[in-house]
Amino acid sequence: LAKTTQPISMDSYEGQEVNITCSHNNIATNDYITWYQQFPSQGPRFIIQGYKTKVTNEVASLFIPADRKSSTLSLPRVSLSDTAVYYCLVGDMGGDMRFGAGTRLTVKP
């Protein structure tokens, strides 16, 4: 299973764009990159998933360079309610996905 490394914490202000980068140097050919969001006392919530290049949905974008050894989750115009822990997971879909420590994002007014 590929190990992931993310910053432990990040601070931002309302209305700013936030980019959280995850390193996964040992990513395997079959591995996908998935990001989850977790609020206190709640289960993780799926945000976005990708294999290569760029993926965009209604809440975020995911940038994956050609070598796939890292990925960047981009949250446009964050609000206070985006304060949460963000996890980057790498693995074969259907397999056991292992969570790292995640990045604790704090959005300030």
């Binding site: 259907g94 397999g95 420590a101």
Partner: protein, 114 residues
């Protein structure tokens, strides 16, 4: 939006007692998982279940733990003899055939062993 339902939301049990945590997966999902999260720590993988058998399990998932789908719908996690260190949030997650949507997690069961 389809949900994964977990019951109970909170359970308090005495050390040494057996507990069963229940999960109702999304109806057409095929892959099932249990995770746990000790307060203030990361989410830890316990076990994955597919086609009515365990696919993978972590080092945490020892002989005290078991999983089953007793009636083809519910997905349960049993802890035979609880220890104080089993106190945690336990999350059930499921994954459908369309892998693009990622795992759907339930809201969790908070287990407190006293």
């Amino acid at each position: 939006e389809p949900e994964v339902t977990q019951t109970p939301s909170h359970q308090v049990t005495q050390m040494g007692q057996e507990v069963i945590l229940r999960c109702v997966p999304i109806s057409n999902h095929l892959y099932f998982y249990w995770y746990r999260q000790i307060l203030g720590q990361k989410v830890e993988f316990l076990v994955s279940f597919y086609n009515n058998e365990i696919s993978e399990k972590s080092e945490i998932f020892d002989d005290q733990f078991s999983v089953e789908r007793p009636d083809g719908s519910n997905f349960t996690l049993k802890i035979r003899s609880t220890k104080l260190e089993d106190s945690a949030m336990y999350f059930c997650a499921t994954l459908g055939q369309s892998l693009d949507d990622g795992y759907t997690f339930g809201s969790g069961t908070r287990l407190t062993v006293v």
